[in-house]
């Protein structure tokens, strides 16, 4: 009995200690994340102006969003299209990771060069690519004309069909280094003995990849997917610098539309409703991806 009490007391002390250590972070999280989120939900159900007391609006803003606002629908669609860039980036990151995981000469230099795009400030990335894509003076147009792929310069960022793919391309370029590092870490955690056993069993390289490498990389790949989803919902600065959401609303994402609605049009109540949709979608997708990964995306096995 005494022993049991001792253990219980120890657990209580440990638990108290853990909560005390967590408390500062949780307090900040509550104040700066949970409360604003809850307030945002309330705001989306109100008529709210900067100078007047709020009035209950019910689902008025949601009705407007779904029945009248085709910019919202386009932003939602663009956000989903932006997300399609993630699997492409991850596939690219996987290929590069497999390549630089091999004992090739100068692989550390290649790894560094490929990773270097990730820490560059997004605004700087946007400005650099804005010039690269320029119709009159851009290097990309010059190169494509030089190799004969196009016969006259293309207005990549002014074209309704090319603007979004161009931005997705930049986004992939920026994040592919991170994907590579995550996957490389996953690759290096696979014990070589598994491959040796597979070789003895007569598995060829293709079989080794599909039956060993890919399944064991699942947590890393799903972590990359979650990062890709976050990136799609947060790609504000890249879009804002490169196109401002245009031409028309061809590159408008939910996040840029929220910003414009709130801070350009001062419709904070309506922006709150879009944010609720944005957050719900984000939560649902993240949950789905985590479930698909077996509920342990990015987990580190400790035993």
């Amino acid at each position: 009995m005494t022993v049991k009490f001792g253990i219980g007391n120890k657990r209580l002390r440990e638990s108290t200690l853990i909560w005390f250590l967590l408390f500062p972070s949780l307090a900040v999280f509550l104040l700066y994340r949970i409360l604003p989120l809850a307030w945002n939900g309330v705001l989306s159900l109100q008529f709210w102006s900067m100078y007047k007391p709020p009035r209950f609006a019910g689902l008025y803003h949601y009705k407007e969003l779904f029945l009248y606002d085709d910019v919202f629908r386009q932003s939602l669609w663009n956000t989903l299209l932006f997300m399609v860039g993630s699997p492409i980036g991850i596939a690219l990151g996987l290929m590069i990771a497999l390549l630089v995981n091999r004992p090739i000469f100068g692989r550390n230099i290649y790894r560094t060069i490929i990773f270097m795009s990730f820490p560059v400030m997004t605004v700087a990335t946007g400005v650099i690519w804005l010039w690269l894509f320029s119709e009159k003076t851009g290097l990309i147009n010059y190169f494509l004309m030089y190799i004969g792929l196009i016969d006259h310069s293309q207005p990549f960022l002014e074209d309704f069909n090319l603007a979004l793919p161009s931005i997705v391309l930049v986004s992939i370029w920026q994040v592919v280094g991170l994907y590579m590092i995550i996957i490389l870490t996953g690759l290096q955690n696979i014990p070589p003995s598994i491959y040796q056993a597979a070789k003895i069993d007569g598995a060829n390289s293709w079989q080794q990849f599909w039956l060993i490498t890919f399944p064991l990389l699942r947590p890393s790949i799903f972590l990359c997917l979650i990062i890709g989803i976050i990136n799609s919902f947060n790609a504000f600065d890249l879009v804002y610098v490169m196109t401002g959401g245009g031409p028309g609303h061809a590159t408008e994402l939910l996040i840029t539309y929220i910003y414009k609605t709130a801070f350009t049009l001062a419709r904070f109540d309506y922006a709150a409703a879009i944010t609720v949709i944005n957050f719900s979608l984000f939560l649902a997708l993240t949950w789905l991806v985590n479930r698909m990964s077996g509920g342990n995306a990015g987990a580190v096995e400790t035993n």
Partner: protein, 435 residues
């Protein structure tokens, strides 16, 4: 005992870190009494001039401090909105374009009509057409600080090469000249188009944005469809540079400065930017004219007083100093712009005739035809209407969709905004009435 000591240490450390973490929430600065705050719009270089305004102000109100907060245009709105929401709206704000309409319509700005009536001598300094630009539902909410309006810059060398002897005086001629000057990388015409800058093209073709009662869209007409189709075709043909429809500022001005554009519709301020980026521009190579029909879009700045300012009279006195007499003069020569004070403007023109003669004919265009300004409709949701309309027009102008489809969709959106205004206003008043 060792555990107790370490647990106590942990508890204290956790509490300290919590306090540190939460300290960001506390308001460290105590509100200073007897102070007015002036939020200016993209005037970081005007510190000395602002100090002179404050020195003059202190002669009248020695006990009231003045604080200037300046924000760039791109984040002015976000800053002001957060200040209002947090209950610390600046006493005086400097707005650009139609943003003030939303603030005035929601009761955020003070009606300045009684001040203007009381200070008749001060009021008489201003161009009546400009003062008119800040009237919403019969009340005046702003005093002009400085203003520019659009005009047509033209490249005399390209005119000469194409055999054109004078600027166009009709829309047809504008298009004809644009085609004449288009060759290779060179385009005949370009326009800036943020805010309502492009509307002069619509106005000269007899197209209205809204009905006279401001309750319905009026732009979806066969004339407007024909105009957009014509502009879109000229864009496709290269006679109008497609950069015209991107909403950018630097790129169009750069292209004109690079000698690639025959005619550019832009604000007068574009000239100084061009002069600082190229050497070929001088009195013999660049011309300034009104757009056909003398239509132009203002890009005016005004000072307003917040409705909940504690010192409205002091704020008004500050505005008088900044917008007239010596205060306006020093601002005008610093910004290379005209002010709302017509007498001060003559002094500013005298100054520039001595120092920068090239800008004098340019600034003269700014004083003319103030009765044909467009893009300054007193619509409470001006920004929202602009956002609803322009992307649709842009789609048609860049040949992404048909003009008829774009105008039809834009009309639906604009009418929805105008009708929603009515509905939300009714909802607000009915709830208020019930209390």
């Amino acid at each position: 005992m060792p555990f107790r000591a370490s647990a106590a240490f942990t508890v204290i450390a956790a509490l300290i870190s919590t306090l540190l973490a939460l300290s960001g929430c506390s308001n460290e600065s105590e509100p200073v009494q007897n102070k007015i705050v002036v939020l200016t719009f993209n005037m970081p270089h005007y510190k000395d001039g602002f100090s002179r305004w404050v020195a003059e102000f202190h002669k009248l109100h020695p006990d009231i401090e003045v604080e200037q907060i300046d924000r760039k245009g791109s984040n002015w709105g976000a800053f002001y909105h957060t200040q209002v929401i947090s209950g610390t709206a600046p006493d005086i704000i400097d707005t650009q374009g139609g943003a003030w309409l939303q603030y005035a319509s929601q009761g955020g700005l003070l009606d300045l009509t009684p001040f203007l009536e009381k200070d008749a001598e001060f009021t008489a300094n201003f161009y009546p057409e400009l003062l008119q630009s800040w009237i919403y539902e019969g009340q005046n909410y702003g005093i002009p600080l400085y203003f520019t309006k659009t005009l047509l810059f033209y490249n005399k060398l390209m005119f000469q090469e194409a055999g054109i002897t004078s600027p166009p005086n009709s829309f047809d001629q504008l298009m004809e000249y644009a085609y004449k000057m288009t060759k290779g990388e060179k385009s005949g015409f370009m326009t800036l188009n943020f805010d309502w800058l492009y509307w002069s093209l619509f106005a000269m073709n007899g197209i209205d944005l809204v009905t006279p009662d401001l309750r319905h869209a009026a732009f979806n007409t066969p004339k407007a469809i024909a105009l957009i189709e014509r502009l879109a075709k000229a864009t496709k043909d290269g006679a109008i540079s497609n950069i015209s429809w991107t909403g950018r500022w630097v790129e169009p001005n750069s292209m004109f400065a690079a000698g690639q554009i025959g005619m550019l519709q832009a604000h007068s301020t574009a000239l100084l930017w061009m002069l600082s980026n190229t050497s070929w521009i001088n009195e013999n190579t660049i011309g300034f004219a009104q757009m056909p029909g003398n239509w132009s879009t203002p890009n005016a700045h005004a000072l307003h007083i917040s409705a909940d300012s504690k010192y409205p009279q002091a704020a008004w006195d500050f505005i008088k100093i900044a917008t007239s007499g010596e205060g306006a003069y020093s601002l005008g020569i610093s910004l290379n712009n005209l002010t709302g004070d017509r007498f001060v403007n003559e002094k500013i023109l005298d100054y520039f005739s001595q120092t920068k003669p090239i800008v004098v004919p340019l600034l003269r265009t700014q004083q003319e035809h103030l009765n044909t300004l467009v893009g300054n409709w007193p619509l409470a949701n001006d920004a929202e209407i602009k956002e609803a309309l322009y992307p649709e027009l842009q789609s048609a102008l860049l040949n992404h969709k048909s003009a008829a489809d774009a105008l039809s969709r834009a009309e639906k959106k604009v009418n929805h905004i105008l009708s929603r205004d009515d509905r939300t206003a009714q909802s607000q008043s009915s709830v208020s009435g019930g209390q």
